[in-house]
């Protein structure tokens, strides 16, 4: 009989402690403090890891919990995870989303509106979709891809032996991605202004270093006398540099990229790369989380914002040999204390 009583007590105790754990384990459900959340593609990308780092610094500053969701390049998963997060927090959440595909933005916007959750996004959305048509979509921001592509191209041309005259090969990212298209346009504009510069061949390396390496080696056989390589992001640029090394052209033929990963800074310092455009992922995360949180806390009246404050672009940080040391010091080795008092301080132009 005693055994049975002991057993019963143990059972009740177990159930109670489980309940307690459950209650403690999900504070957001009970408490008032909102949760911050980021939806990004993958933590295997050093660039996207900056979202997490920046987001964590911001969360620490404001004393709120942060959740990071990864889509792993799967749009369905991305949307499902967002919905799950909303459910888990009971809608008491503010989001920064970097959509996996431009078209995902529509589904996400509808979900957020239905759930009454404020969010801000970066990079990809369909051009014909307007942020102001959705009540809870605070803003869609992008770095000026055109400006980036232009800067990269100009810096590359500067490195030619014969000024303003030479051949280049180019590596595009995933052909459907918005940033890719914008940077490509920037390159085309510069090519148009410089008739002495010829783009002899381009391929898509899908943002991947190994693909870039393989393709560059093949293109170098087709065009052994190339003067420069334009790569739509730094990972691909690094792959191209390795290929150039094996063709004994590294340093003589320069590469440009975009994103601002640590390796490219070393490459610029070492003379293998000419320039990059530093997309400050940390700032992206902080700005968007701040926007979403401000809207949620009533400090920002979304519906009263003019259209050009709902979707806009801000400039990225252009990096070349001249300023690379400073950039590395300020932005990579440290996380700057961003001034987020005026959320639109860096506003550069409206998104077309």
């Amino acid at each position: 009989m005693r055994k049975l009583v002991c057993w019963r007590i143990a059972n009740v105790a177990a159930v109670l402690s489980l309940a307690l754990l459950a209650a403690v384990g999900s504070p957001a459900a009970a408490a008032d403090a909102p949760t911050l959340a980021i939806s990004l593609r993958t933590l295997s990308s050093p660039y996207q890891v900056m979202y997490k780092t920046g987001g964590e610094a911001y969360a620490k500053n404001v004393g709120l919990p942060l959740d990071v969701l990864t889509t792993e390049a799967n749009s369905q998963k991305g949307l499902a995870d967002i919905k799950a997060e909303i459910a888990r927090t009971g809608g008491n959440v503010a989001f920064y989303v970097d959509p996996n595909d431009a078209t995902d933005a529509i589904a996400i916007a509808k979900t957020m509106d239905d759930a009454g959750v404020y969010w801000a996004s970066w990079w990809s959305k369909p051009a014909d979709v307007k942020v102001w048509d959705y009540s809870h979509w605070v803003a869609h921001i992008s770095f000026d891809g055109f400006a980036a592509g232009e800067f990269m191209a100009r810096e590359l041309i500067k490195t030619f032996k014969t000024p303003g005259k030479g051949n280049i090969i180019a590596l595009q990212g995933r052909l459907g991605d918005t940033p890719n298209g914008e940077r490509w346009q920037g390159l085309q504009k510069v090519l148009g202004e410089n008739p002495g510069v010829k783009l002899v061949q381009w391929e898509s390396a899908k943002w991947d270093r190994t693909q870039a390496y393989n393709i560059t080696r093949a293109m170098l056989v087709a065009h052994p006398d190339v003067d420069g390589v334009w790569a739509a992001n730094d990972d691909m640029a690094m792959g191209a540099i390795q290929a150039l090394k094996e063709a004994n052209l590294a340093g003589k033929v320069k590469v440009v990229g975009c994103d601002g990963i640590p390796e490219i800074f070393d490459a610029i310092k070492g003379g293998l790369a000419a320039a990059t455009v530093f997309n400050d992922g940390k700032y992206q995360a902080q700005l968007c989380l701040a926007l979403a949180l401000a809207a949620k806390q009533g400090k920002l009246n979304v519906s009263s914002l003019p259209h050009d404050r709902r979707q806009f672009e801000i400039p990225a940080v252009n990096v070349n040999r001249d300023n690379v040391e400073k950039i590395v010091h300020d932005y990579i080795q440290n996380t700057p204390n961003y001034d987020l008092k005026d959320l639109f301080a860096r506003w550069s132009r409206a998104m077309p």
């Binding site: 993958t42 933590l43 052909l175 391929e203 270093r209 190994t210 390796e263 070393d266």
Partner: protein
Amino acid sequence: MTRDRLDRTSTAVPWPRLLAGVDAVQRRVRRAGIHGQLVSLVVVVALFALGTGGRYLAWPNVRVILSLAAIPTIIAVGMHPVVVLGGMDLSVEGVVALCVVFVGLLTRNNMNQNDVGLWIVPVTLGIGGAAGLVSGTCNAKLRIPSFIVTLGMSWVLWGLAVFVSQGQTLALLDTRFHPVVTGSVGGIPNLALLAVALTIAVQVLQDRSQLGRYLYAIGGDEVLARQAGVPVDRVKIIVFTTAGLLYGLSALLLSTRLGGAQAITGNNLLFPAVTAVAVGGVALTGGIGGAKNAALGALIVTALNDGLILMHVNPYAQDAVNGAVLVVAVALTIDRKKLGFIK
């Protein structure tokens, strides 16, 4: 027709012997099961040679093809015995991701103080082999279909790789490996020589060892093989483990070549490997095809892609071409009788 020629010309003695020799070689090639693949390779090369005005066949390009085909060959040589068994190994991307990350973290790098040097070789082989061992055991003993086990393994290892590396890229600073990987002997890239050596070794094992016999028996009819006394489970585990070993090796080679270690280094390795195996004539239904098939398949696929670039084929179309090649290759090699109804 041959006889005609012989009759008309007054036959010099070497002719009949030469023709007989050519005939014997042809028979051997046909029996070796690579007849179709060699013809395809010749056709591909000829097409591109014509299309690029001969530049395709110039030594610099051939060198590039050999160099770029080496790692896919090693992967295909590792993967194909699983296909011969009648299964499928989808784990290469995850295994390579994890091995690459460990290469980055353990050899001299820019993030920590580790420097295991040459010990990285057994370590990377060990990780790959261990992954294969687990996959093989789950497939053989727990009877989980290989398709599922290896797919799951790939995701698990991939997640682990991302977690361990924190998404960072590690620069590889140990300079001892680089010249080995990028160097050449007599103009032929080291990697190509390594790939050829591995292919020959595996092929000899397949032709002339008891293990090789068992491999093809299981692929032909697993039930009958088991009845005849073949140690089916043991063979399966060995096959998966060797695949993992070779994936681990390719991880080391790949990251050394790129100078950096990232979890995503493993991406986009699976599709070319499966295509190589299928194009090479290793039937997905099992029991047919050896290392030479896998190697030839990898060479054909690499040669094809290189040619597409050299001929400025629209990059939008290149993926479509690769996809079509895979479907055609599988259609030509599967044994429909074995599949009964094609699902």
